[in-house]
Subunit: 198 residues, 2 copies
Amino acid sequence: MNPAQEQHPKIRSTAEAQRQRIVAEAVPVFARAGYHATPVTEVAEAAGVSPAYVFRLFPGKLGLFVATVEHCYESVRRALVEGGESTGEAAPDTVLDAMSEAYIQLIGDRDLLMLQVHAQSACDVPEIRQAVRRGLKDIVTTVSETSGADAASVQRFFAYGQLCHLIVQADLSAVDAPWAKTLSDGIRHADDITPKEV
Amino acid sequence: MNPAQEQHPKIRSTAEAQRQRIVAEAVPVFARAGYHATPVTEVAEAAGVSPAYVFRLFPGKLGLFVATVEHCYESVRRALVEGGESTGEAAPDTVLDAMSEAYIQLIGDRDLLMLQVHAQSACDVPEIRQAVRRGLKDIVTTVSETSGADAASVQRFFAYGQLCHLIVQADLSAVDAPWAKTLSDGIRHADDITPKEV
DNA sequence: ACAGTTACTGATTAGTCAGTCACTTAAATA
DNA sequence: TATTTAAGTGACTGACTAATCAGTAACTGT
């Protein structure tokens, strides 16, 4: 039921344009509480359309979530490429460092990090697991090729990336204690304006 | 109506004993799909009691989950201590390596790893976030003190620990591709009997 | 002008699940 | 034995939510 729709860009909003818009709006919504804890209604509301229409545009909540996750991975990938290319033709480890820095910058708007985390933890749903694998595959490949670093360095890159996820999830920036500093040292981003919690 | 009882069906246990038993039974149940996607009924069924009784023993589903998460962190902590102490009085990095090995062993029964993951991703619920922080605090402290390693090494330990989580979540052992090997190299556990998926 | 297509919604349904309550049964104690 | 206390459950409810459908409004080509 999806014949050719890309010709000249129409002024009126097409179904495809709405799909993309809704997916973009869905990122922060799903990023808050994840797949299972986020009703489609919330996404619809954020996008300013009726829930019924979301179900018409996507094959169920699952389809919507998968599309959102794919969008998220693609955004992350682009951010990494940009960060890496900003160094020009440098040594592999230098490029990798620049990519790390780019990833740390993403902590700024937590959404992309959190959505990945939620996608990962919903991996018991086969479609989501496959989306996660596809996204990981793209990012691992991109990082490897763009940086030219060896496997061990790439692995280290992802290990510390996952550590970022933990720090964001538990909001360790808000914890003022030695153990929290141990985990987030060097990763902590500049915007530590968050009030202190216990 | 619940045949899953022990030898003497007459004897009753105390509420406290049941609480502990139910928490232990809850670990693998919550480990499958996480907090939001797991109905209390499933836990009750696994423990061989009625859902109503679970609600009587715990302050709501949230209380049950928090108790389960705490139990999980304590198990992990003990496993790490055991692994670390098996080296006797060795150099910090040696102890840390032994702990890493102990953690990798935990991949064997995925449950403890997955429950941590689900707890982390449910951190938008304040009570869960605080439980995660308490658990992390204990483990970071234990690892630091038991190994005597410096902060950077401890941070690295947790970074690769989080990488383990990703590997287990997406079940990368079942993926036979270069990018998957890059991520799981050296972490892959011996039991790679899982059939290959795409 | 009109017919046909496409965007979009209100109303509804069927199912799930957290939590409660009145109740039964078993042990402890007097 | 009688009374009290604690373990444990069936049967409900009220709230929520994924998904559907019949329909209306807006745009398009002819």
